[in-house]
């Protein structure tokens, strides 16, 4: 109980609350602008969080992402363009509602169910993370090695449409993670005599490059594709909500449960949660024919799902140090930077930090209600901020952010290189999220493998001798077998296209 009280003390400090509020406004703004994503919001925030206390830093990221995921719904309904990929699944449906004159209801549903879905995810996080941590405390390097393997496998298994390219991207990320001094023997690898490379590929500049610079490059060539904001004014968005709740409360619980589960799975985040729950909703609906014509049912499911996924994604991140999506991958990078190794020991050694994260999550979802209301009311002004003014400003932000991580031009060189590389990969439909996961987990994977090998005197069977390690190991191997089997028996893409 003491930990809970000290957690409240940590969060309810004027400075931390100020950071949370500022990040909330920032997240709303970034989320509402099509082309600027929640991941980009996090990427731009991280250099700033570097200078904050751990609690303020976590608060900033949690709040900004929660807001951005909701705010992405706004341009969906008003411009027919999702503000973030997480809203893409139902942007069309929302816009159809607007065309039917139901903009108020649509915005109300999006706001209230986003808040409720977010809280659902938090409840899940609070209930299960400490429980899992108690199991995880018994894990040794053997279990962690398998867990990292399992996490990486899941990332390509569910995260992307094209598993081959996802796998390739993952290997590239792992390869990049080997640059620098190796974790076991202290041998410099792939540094080519460069002093900067000795410290490895700095995670933050790399991530700003992959998520922000590549986005800027894509945006720069489609500058004039601006949408037309709908003329409809937003009235009282809370009328009619109780009727929606009475009719679709089951959808809310289903959507949130689907969202949280997908959030927990490594590699899949809010965007996939929204797509899956929308599809589930349509499949199980009594009136599937209404989907796509401005029907509120699917929106209830998916807008709850994408916000609940956020809380879910933090479960593996906090308990095992294995990210549930690209945002928590960034969070883990930040925690390492702060000298806190995410994992079950944090639950024992500094439980107040874990409780602080819980409190921030609840707080973020609660202030979403008034802030979201304000954002919807002022949406027309926000959506009118032209991209041609935003792009150069973001360029400067990226430059300064990357510079601040190394205090030298090295950070910027790294960011630019990774940005162009990330852009090139995505041009070839190679997703960058597995790469970032590989970059974050690479060191951990190798370190756990090496220390396990030293413990087991080089016997590979050591990885199966402990009952827990053996179970996770066999599970991982089974999953690999399944993937290979699927790869071999799947219809070749060309034949599928030709058929």
């Amino acid at each position: 109980m003491d930990a809970v009280i000290s957690a409240f003390g940590l969060v309810f400090e004027p400075q931390v609350l100020g950071v949370i509020l500022a990040s909330a406004v920032f997240g709303m703004f970034v989320g509402a602008i099509p082309g600027l994503t929640a991941t980009m919001a996090t990427a731009l925030l991280v250099p700033i969080t570097f200078f904050m206390s751990p609690v303020a830093a976590l608060g900033a990221i949690v709040t900004a992402t929660a807001m951005a995921i909701f705010a992405g719904d706004i341009p969906g309904a008003m411009l027919r363009m999702p503000g973030t990929p997480a809203s893409a699944a139902y942007a069309d449906e929302s816009y159809q509602m607007t065309r039917k004159g139901q903009l108020d209801l649509c915005m109300g549903v999006n706001l209230v169910f986003s808040v409720a879905g977010g809280l659902f995810g938090v409840v899940f996080l609070i209930a299960f993370a400490p429980m899992l941590a108690e199991v995880a405390i018994n894990f040794s390097s053997f279990e962690y090695f398998w867990l990292a393997c399992l996490g990486l496998t899941c990332a390509i298994f569910i995260g992307t449409g094209d598993s081959l390219k996802g796998l390739l991207s993952l290997f590239i990320g792992l390869a990049i993670a080997t640059v620098g001094i190796d974790p076991a023997a202290g041998q410099p690898r792939f540094t080519f005599g460069n002093v900067d490379l000795l410290s490895g590929i700095d995670f933050i500049p790399a991530m700003i490059g992959m998520f922000a610079v590549s986005e800027l490059l894509r945006g720069a060539v489609s500058m004039d594709k601006a949408g037309e904001v709908v003329k409809q004014a937003v009235g009282n968005m809370f009328t009619g909500l109780s009727a929606v709740w009475k009719k679709y409360w089951k959808n809310f619980f289903r959507g949130s449960a689907v969202g949280t589960t997908i959030g927990i799975l490594p590699g899949a985040g809010a965007d996939i949660a929204a797509w899956v729950s929308y599809a589930v909703s349509k499949k199980l609906s009594k009136e599937p024919e209404k989907f796509g014509t401005g029907h509120v049912e699917g929106i209830v499911d998916s807008t709850s799902a994408n916000n609940s996924a956020l809380g879910g994604a933090w479960i593996p991140a906090l308990v095992f140090g294995i990210p549930g999506d690209s945002i928590t991958a960034i969070v883990i990078g930040v925690l390492y930077m702060k000298g806190m190794n995410p994992g079950p020991t944090v639950f024992q050694q500094s439980p107040e930090l874990i409780y602080a994260v819980f409190i921030i999550f609840i707080l973020a979802n609660l202030i979403m209600l008034p802030l979201g209301w304000a954002a919807i009311k002022s949406a027309k002004q926000i959506l009118r901020v032209p991209k041609n003014i935003l792009t150069p400003i973001i360029v400067i932000f990226c430059l300064v952010g990357a510079f601040a991580m190394t205090n030298s031009a090295y950070g910027i060189v790294l960011m630019l290189t990774m940005g162009v590389f990330g852009w090139w990969l995505e041009e070839h439909d190679i997703p960058v999220a597995p790469l970032i996961l590989g970059l974050v987990l690479g060191q951990m994977l190798e370190q756990n493998f090496m220390s396990s090998m030293i413990k087991a005197n080089g016997a590979l069977m050591g990885f199966f001798e402990r009952p827990l390690a053996g179970t996770i190991g066999v599970l991982t191997l089974l999953l690999w077998g399944m993937m290979i089997w699927r790869g071999l028996t799947a219809k070749k893409p060309v034949e599928a296209a030709a058929a």
Binding site: D182, A184, V395, L416, E427, V494
Partner: protein, 158 residues
Amino acid sequence: MKFNDAIVGAIFIVIAGLMIQQSFSFPGFPGQDYGPNLFPRIIAGGIILCSVLLILRGLRTRAATGQAWLAFDDWTRVPRHLISFFLIIGAMLAYILISDTLGFIITAFVLQLGLFLWFSVRPVTAVVVAVVSTLVVQYFFASLLRVPLPRGLLDSIL
């Protein structure tokens, strides 16, 4: 700019090959069978495996649909978009090269102004926004967060 999957695969095979070649220069771990060269080799092996599959797929797609080795997207044919693309990269390169000499304030202002004008922001707006955002970033990062942004020419004033 989009290469056929086979070419993408070939590029990565070359990179993975270089990785393996480099890994021979890593000394072993005393008393261990596994040293610092193990992981790079496994990873390079993974890259090669994926790349081979990618090459096969690329060749099959090409045989079935006649996909070109290298295709250009629509925007690459519009000179204005092409310039926009390289201006973003160029601005960042320029920052790396000149910010130490000119200092953050002048560099950031000039780069933003240039980009604004290219993206057809009205000149007055462009100047005002460039000044304001440069000063805000300078204040926030240099004064509040104490990031040593280069001072350059303005060293004596700041």
